[in-house]
């Protein structure tokens, strides 16, 4: 185990993946008169989806009502997630979201297959254009949900399909999207998160204003772009001093102790850390450049 701190994130991902799965299974069983895990609530995933309140935002504001299948619990969950996002950024995506977790797990297999080529199949310029597609998804979902008066996104929602693929409640469309996402994860890291997730778009925008941000110490950074290559969501970290990028999911892979950065140029902090030992660090950096260890 290279880095124990990474496991705090993995542990939380596994917990939510299993916990939400048990809720979904319990709900399906409860509908047929059984309940497998008495200590786990048997709620509809629609009722605890944080994206529900966003989907229903127009009818919520204009008529004070939610579209069918959504409940007050959606608003509560949504507010809680937005609060955390405002503090830390889009950590929901990297620490909680089960669909993100699934993509990450498949991505680990992809990394083994394609090694350094993994997550490099889409040119950066094309990626920079494609990532705006999730805003289109978001707008389309909000408008179409309001017009239709029902959860229209459920027809293509891979998250719902992931937990209900064994029931007849899932549409073919959502199963296809889930399959494409899973296959895509073998080549590209988190394809759904980067290019299509409407909730990720919301959290990304809120995350831009988060108190904690990943910051680059430009004094010591030599723009080697190793961090750019490590970023799962293809952010060109070396181009920013403050990574408040809307795509950043705060996975912390670039700030880990075993991250690719050999100079510890990246931090996750409230404000920019002053380089107290700038002169000493500069010495270390120049020595490292020369291959000398201090």
């Amino acid at each position: 185990m290279k880095n124990k701190s990474r496991w705090y994130r993995y542990a939380l991902q596994i917990f939510f993946f299993v916990f939400i799965g048990l809720i979904a299974v319990n709900h399906v069983l409860a509908e047929s008169g059984k309940e497998l895990f008495g200590f786990i609530p048997s709620l509809s995933l629609h009722a605890i989806c944080p994206f529900g309140a966003v989907e229903s935002i127009i009818s919520l504001v204009t008529a004070g009502s939610l579209v069918p299948k959504l409940q007050m619990s959606n608003i509560v969950i949504s507010i809680l997630i937005l609060f955390v996002t405002l503090v830390f950024g889009a950590v929901f995506c990297s620490f909680v979201c089960p669909l993100g977790t699934l993509q990450e797990w498949i991505g680990k297999l992809g990394k083994k297959i394609f090694k350094k080529k993994y997550n490099r199949f889409i040119p950066q310029k094309l990626h920079n254009i494609l990532r705006y597609f999730r805003y289109i998804t978001l707008l389309a979902t909000i408008v179409l949900t309001f017009n239709a008066g029902r959860l229209i996104f459920a027809d293509v929602d891979p998250y719902y399909a992931m937990y209900h693929f064994f029931t007849d409640e899932v549409t073919i469309g959502s199963l296809i999207v889930l399959a494409v996402t899973m296959i895509g994860s073998l080549f590209v890291e988190r394809p759904w998160c980067k290019y299509a997730c409407p909730y990720g778009a919301v959290l990304g925008l809120v995350g831009k204003f988060s108190f904690f941000k990943i910051r680059r110490k430009s004094e010591t950074c030599n723009s080697c772009t190793l961090c750019d290559r490590q970023c799962p969501v293809n952010i060109e970290i070396s181009k920013y001093d403050k990574i408040g990028h809307s795509s950043c999911i705060r996975c912390m892979d670039c700030v880990e102790e075993d991250s690719s950065c050999t100079r510890n140029c990246l931090t996750f902090s409230l404000k920019k850390e002053k380089c107290e030992k700038t002169s000493k660090m500069s010495e270390e950096v120049s020595a490292a450049d020369k291959g000398v260890s201090i």
Binding site: Y8, E31, S65, L66, K69, V84
Partner: protein, 120 residues
């Protein structure tokens, strides 16, 4: 850096579960029958509002919070309800509870009931 990741993990657990428990204690955590948020006071007690009934493409659907009176209002024939629900004498009884008590799968029966819903 180890601390930051641990702080994020703990914060997420505390905020999500703490928030849910707190909102439950305050009465905000409603996972059924809370669609009409600030208009429900205007509706008469015991009388279902059309917006309170779960919906499909045409606006109505039998769901977990649907009562017998709501199902009848949706236009589902009484004999069909009797067949799957058994006793329908209590208009406030939940359709879901009666179906499962009658030994049927709610997931399957709700599909059958939905096919009887009359669209005006």
């Amino acid at each position: 850096m180890k601390k930051i990741r641990l702080i994020i993990a703990i914060s997420l657990i505390v905020v999500i579960f703490g928030g849910v428990f707190a909102s439950d204690a305050l009465g905000f955590w409603q996972t059924s029958g809370s669609r009409n948020l600030w208009k429900s006071e205007s509706s008469q007690a015991g009388e279902p509002h059309e917006e309170d009934i779960e919906g499909t493409d045409h606006g109505l659907e039998v769901g977990g919070s649907t009562t017998v009176s709501m199902a009848l209002e949706m236009g589902i024939p009484e004999d069909v309800l009797l067949e799957y629900l058994g006793d329908i004498s209590n208009p406030d009884a939940l359709v879901k509870d009666l179906i499962t008590a009658n030994g049927y799968s709610f997931g399957k029966v709700k599909g059958i009931l939905n096919s009887y819903i009359k669209i005006d």
